[in-house]
Point group: none
Chain length 282, copies 2
DNA sequence: AGCTCTTGTATAGCGTTGCTATATCGCCTA
DNA sequence: TAGGCGATATAGCAACGCTATACAAGAGCT
């Protein structure tokens, strides 16, 4: 066991670094260890050793290990939301909800262990703390939206729907994406996140045009090869598409695949590979 | 209810009742124990005791405890889907997707421990087996929908969005609802599930009127030819392309090039932008 | 037959886990 | 000074996932 760093409490909270309470040291120790040990579980002994306390101290302040983890998640999410600048609200509550969604995804992807741990222990009556927190924030913003007459359903109902989809998308991205570090701006570019976010949001908003992406205009601004695809499509459809040879199929498939992926998602992400050149014909 | 009491009991699984393989007994024992012990974890010793084998046998057939759990979940979900009558498809692929959604939610609510356990162990590279299974089923049905020209995005993309929301809703219901038994029909009545399901579905469908919500207009305003292109794409995907011949590819390219020039105007863009290797596909 | 290789199961036990029964320390109140 | 009380330490339990090793039975080969 290492006795090197007894003064563990290098807490960036800005309070009392040297002699913070054991409770605080336990939370920050768990946070730190959880962030370092990439994915794998962290034992209570590691936590208590790093915090400079012994085992019973943990169980005096928290009911059990899960209780400590809940506290860690709650604090982590709060700090995350605050640091991300969610206190200041924009003019549009809907945009704030969108930002809240992105923050949620970002938090999940940057706190994998914590995030999955919460939903792994979710039981019939055990609502994860993160759910409570996020639902509260969403309800607040959606309450503002409802007050402005922007919602078509009750704020609580809308919050549940948005949060459910938000969690699902986060978990999906978390399982899919390799362990690459991505910034907050990258989140707003993930097609799955943006697409699902606006889909659910559109279902609870009274006027869907609020969500329309200003950067990406009407679909009339399709790139030129869309027109070519249409022409080709029509040509092939007039004849028999089943009679294409295998090679033609393969190539056409790949080309169409890109096309449908690029234009179908409705993602207004910047730096897209598709130039918004206006087609002449059609 | 299966063979429970006896240590080495017969298995009604269909093949050899008297001497079913230890592997099978391990899976069914784990399934049963997991269903009985309401939410709390099940130890390997319990499983091996009930299965009538000793510890190393488990690790001979499965990599570790999670491996066994994955097998349990995979089998459970397969059986569930089959029993629910998902083999027969209706006339509308969209309706089948909706039914698949409901089945998913039903499975999650009736297999709490298994469901939460899967997502608790989900890491950066670890895709839960249930995700693979469900995504596969969804992709198949959505592929049919795309072939019928009903989708506005690629089937794979749509499947990911639907599945993400599906998982999120299931987890939310699972944490919220008390441990009451509810039938499959009850699932279709849960507002959160239905609302979110159709919201996401509406975002990937070319014609939202397919879903039973005439009040909302078409926000996406997707041009019809994009749906046609995706439909053609999905149709071609069902067949298997042969080997790639350079001559034919070049011929096909030139053909495509002419067509794009004739109808659209953007000329050379499609020609050189097509490497023969597919980067992301499987 | 004899031999080895593979597959499957059992014996016994290692190291670690979450957690606790009990005791001690220090502080506040009276 | 005594007593209560919250907080921390000492020591250790029972259970956990997992494994090193050995034994048993069949398959294939010489």
């Amino acid at each position: 066991m290492r006795d090197a760093d007894m003064g563990v409490a290098d807490d960036a909270q800005g309070g009392d670094p040297a002699k913070s309470s054991p409770r605080e040291r336990l939370i920050s120790a768990a946070t730190e260890l959880l962030a370092q040990s990439d994915g794998k579980p962290v034992s209570t002994r590691q936590i208590t050793d790093l915090a400079g306390v012994t085992a019973p101290t943990l169980y005096h302040h928290f009911r059990d290990k899960d209780g400590l983890m809940e506290a860690v998640v709650a604090r982590g999410f709060e700090e995350f939301v605050q640091r991300e600048g969610m206190i200041e609200r924009s003019a549009s509550p809907i945009k704030d909800v969108q930002r809240l969604w992105d923050i949620h995804v970002h938090f999940g992807l940057t706190h994998v262990q914590l995030y999955t741990l919460m939903f792994g222990n979710a039981g019939p009556g055990r609502r994860p703390v993160l759910v409570e927190e996020a639902e509260h924030l969403l309800e607040r913003e959606l309450g503002r939206a409802a007050a402005a007459g922007l919602l078509s359903v009750a704020p609580a109902q809308a919050a549940r729907a948005v949060l459910a989809a938000n969690i699902g998308v986060t978990l999906m991205l978390l399982a899919d994406e390799p362990d690459q570090p991505l910034s907050a701006d990258d989140i707003a570019g993930l097609p799955l996140s943006v697409q699902t976010r606006d889909a659910v949001l559109r279902s609870v908003v009274s006027d869907p045009s609020v969500l329309d992406d200003p950067s990406r205009g009407t679909p009339s601004g399709q790139p030129s090869y869309v027109a070519a695809a249409i022409a080709l499509n029509a040509t092939l459809e007039s004849s028999h598409p089943d009679q294409l040879s295998g090679t033609e199929m393969r190539l056409f498939l790949e080309w169409l695949h890109r096309l449908s992926n690029a234009s179908g998602g409705g993602n207004g992400a910047s730096g897209e590979a598709l130039p918004p050149s206006t087609p002449g014909g059609r």
